[in-house]
Symmetry: C2
Subunit: 301 residues, 2 copies
């Protein structure tokens, strides 16, 4: 079934204890699309300025990523992010953020994309996520990401959005902040009460928890990665693998959602092995399926 | 098979965001023995001063805990610990520590306990762990705990101990410190190179990882506890459930070790539900087995 993503395209500079990657391609929609393309065709909606040095058609060559929704604004500049990871590789500091084109009106969803069935709204202002979602006719399953600044300063918009989506994918600090509750399991219960049927809480190196409004729970450790060079894009790759697998299978029952979480986890483990998209572009579906089997082996009892 | 524990008996004062428990019974050997007693008889070795207000025979009444190795020193005072947990319930601050009798010579292992097959050396100075281990004839499986201060200041003693034990059980910060390596999987590989055949790294709310020198890995999330009042004793309860199950089964192959980790995890989930030993004393083996099944259900895919 069709899968649409809306989200950022960025020029990233990333510092980790393992090195520096300057002015490399990043952004939520980029990581998501690359990850999802192992499973399903992707409809891409995003916006860049005329300064963007990357040819996305080349980046996604050989992958079924439809760039009809890529908007290039001549008078605008591309989003830029510079960040540094701490020693634990889970925490990071944003050193510099230039929203540029992301501070303007959101891109338009092309007419041909309006019938999309699976939709991922990557992190941006909840009001923009609303606007983007309003351009899709009748999606079957909508997932969204958000972050601390929207929880703190745009809670009304976010609360309204939560009533319109099926699945929220956030990290553990965001979950605690949104629920105003220190216990993660209680936080999950409170957030499910705000609207979504499914909540996925990402815990970085410690895996993820998925809970449903029907009372189902799934807890998965992260893949035991000995080589982590750059965690940038891990969350969006997780979402890409997750949504890509759902779109491929065309189902959203809890067993399918569980398998989707496992694929998301595995795909993210390739992302973090190298800077930018290098970890993802170096792998294929066979490697992904092998690693899924390995994750099953080390978690089963 | 026989199971012996050596470790502290403490008078604890614990502050958590959920309340305060003053002058309650604590200590590694206490939590360990209570947890292990669901699976196996326990031989208890520990020392208190004449001021200890707790009657351990009453505490363990109805459980197969042999207190022959409990030494009461008339001229000494019992170990005391006062600690405060932070909001995340994983980090804590030691507000006051009075080693008292723990700063003296270690207790003697009774003659009748010298043939013990399974041995747990709870956290104390590695030199004392050596001395205690030296009093056991020919143990089949020895596990030990340690902590940051011994890694920092008594590394030679600890390194020597690691060559004499089968299994080290430590938390993730200690693992990184001991291995001098930020990646946890690499840390595990380095520590296994120091001697033990089995390493278990505890990650609090995020579960645990077990690795063997043979290259086996097992990753288990924590039980999804919505009610956490006091994490004190969780690690020692984990070790108690783990070693208790091993002693019960009499085996140490990796599949048995995996099941033991699951039991340790489940038993610890009862400990943290209430202050002091209240969570443990309120449960039984049937509840433990039910929770094990639930943990299997929420992790299997």
């Amino acid at each position: 079934m069709s899968l649409l993503v809306t989200g950022s395209i960025g020029i990233d500079t990333v510092k980790t204890p393992y090195g520096v990657s300057e002015n490399c391609l990043g952004g939520a929609a980029i990581y998501f699309s690359m990850a999802a393309s192992f499973f399903s065709p992707v409809r891409f909606v995003g916006v860049i300025g005329s300064d963007c040095p990357f040819d996305l058609a080349k980046v996604f060559a050989g992958r079924d990523v439809d760039l009809t929704g890529l908007e290039v604004r001549d008078q605008s500049k591309t989003f830029r992010w510079t960040g540094s990871y701490h020693d634990n590789m889970d925490d990071r500091t944003t050193d510099c953020l230039e929203l540029n084109v992301l501070a303007e009106a959101p891109p338009r969803v092309p007419e041909a994309f309006r019938d999309s069935e699976f939709v991922f709204l990557a992190n941006t202002a909840p009001a923009l996520q609303h606007q983007l979602l309003g351009q899709i006719d009748k999606p079957a399953f909508v997932a969204a990401d958000t972050m601390n600044c929207w929880i703190q300063d745009h809670l009304d918009d976010l609360t309204a959005l939560l009533k319109k989506i099926d699945c929220l994918i956030i990290n553990e600090d965001e979950a605690r902040m949104l629920a105003n509750e220190r216990n993660l399991i209680r936080s999950a219960q409170k957030i499910l009460g705000m609207g979504p049927n499914v909540l996925i809480i990402k815990k970085g190196e410690s895996g993820s928890i998925m809970c449903s409004a029907d009372g189902d729970t799934f807890i998965l450790p992260a893949y035991p990665a000995a080589d982590v060079k750059d965690p940038t894009g891990a969350g969006d790759s997780f979402a890409g693998g997750f949504m890509g697998y759902l779109a491929q299978s065309g189902k959203t029952d809890f067993e399918t959602l569980k398998t989707a979480v496992v694929y998301g986890t595995v795909v993210a483990s390739f992302t973090i092995a190298d800077f930018s998209l290098n970890g993802l572009t170096a792998t294929d579906r066979t490697n992904i399926d092998e690693r899924l089997q390995m994750l099953r082996n080390v978690t089963r009892f």
